[in-house]
């Protein structure tokens, strides 16, 4: 069965510092990996995805994520955090086998402190 783990409920980082939000996954078949962000009272917004190719994927708002097959991880990163990055972040996985439903993690609240 597919699963996603986001081990941190909350991540605090000072503005201007690099940030990392962790995600590990389990799937059968090749994974399709996604990051979404949710701002208050809004729906989830797509940030980036990994399908194939380069392990480092760049997305919206300066975010990037690194796919690591051996560690089954897809951590979200940003070199310099902004206060406006404060939001709820969800990792999701789909795969080349199965019914293509997307499985989401529990979410990580990112708090960027000024």
């Amino acid at each position: 069965a597919q699963s996603v783990a986001q081990p941190e409920d909350q991540v605090n980082v000072a503005e201007g510092n690099p940030l990392t939000v962790k995600c590990t996954y389990s799937v059968s078949g090749n994974p399709y990996l996604f990051w979404y962000v949710q701002y208050p009272n809004r729906g989830l917004q797509f940030l980036l995805k990994y399908i194939t190719g380069d392990n480092l994927v760049k997305g919206s708002y300066g975010f990037e994520a690194e796919f690591n097959k051996s560690q089954t991880s897809f951590h979200l990163k940003k070199p310099s955090a902004l206060v406006s990055d404060s939001a709820l972040y969800f990792c999701a996985v789909s795969s080349t086998s199965g019914t293509y439903k997307y499985i989401f993690g529990t979410g990580t609240r990112l708090k960027v402190l000024a």
């Binding site: 996603v4 409920d9 399709y32 996604f34 979404y36 009272n41 809004r42 729906g43 989830l44 917004q45 797509f46 995805k49 399908i51 969800f90 999701a92 789909s94 795969s95 080349t96 019914t99 293509y100 439903k101 997307y102 499985i103 989401f104 993690g105 529990t106 979410g107």
Partner: protein
């Protein structure tokens, strides 16, 4: 393009009552998904439509939940009768046809509170 629209944004009902949630996907999106998030937990898959057909409804909790997608356009999710554990945020998402690597477009969700 217009986004995914969900109605209502909030619903407060008493245990035993019926509630119907509606989702209007982006025009042309064959895939429509329903998800639910209970406070602090994962966004849990409920079901997946491809056009008007249920592709996967393995996440539906029980037979108190009924989802329909009339003519492959908008979708409704009815809960009858509602129980306390049905409270949460119900999200609808849609996407273009594809092999599972498409990004999802989400609505703002319906916050359901069952008292």
């Amino acid at each position: 393009e217009a986004g995914v629209t969900q109605f209502p944004s909030h619903s407060v009902i008493e245990k035993g009552q019926t509630v119907t949630l509606r989702c209007d996907p982006i025009s042309g999106h064959d895939n429509l998904y329903w998800y639910r998030r209970v406070m602090g937990k994962e966004i849990k898959f409920l079901l997946h439509f491809v056009k008007e057909s249920k592709q996967d409804e393995s996440g539906m909790p029980n037979n108190r939940f009924l989802a329909e997608r009339t003519g492959g356009t908008y979708s409704t999710l009815k809960v009858q009768p509602a129980e306390l554990e049905d409270s949460g945020v119900y999200f609808c998402a849609s996407s273009h046809p594809g092999p599972g690597d498409e990004k999802l477009f989400f609505g703002s969700g319906t916050q359901l509170s069952v008292l």
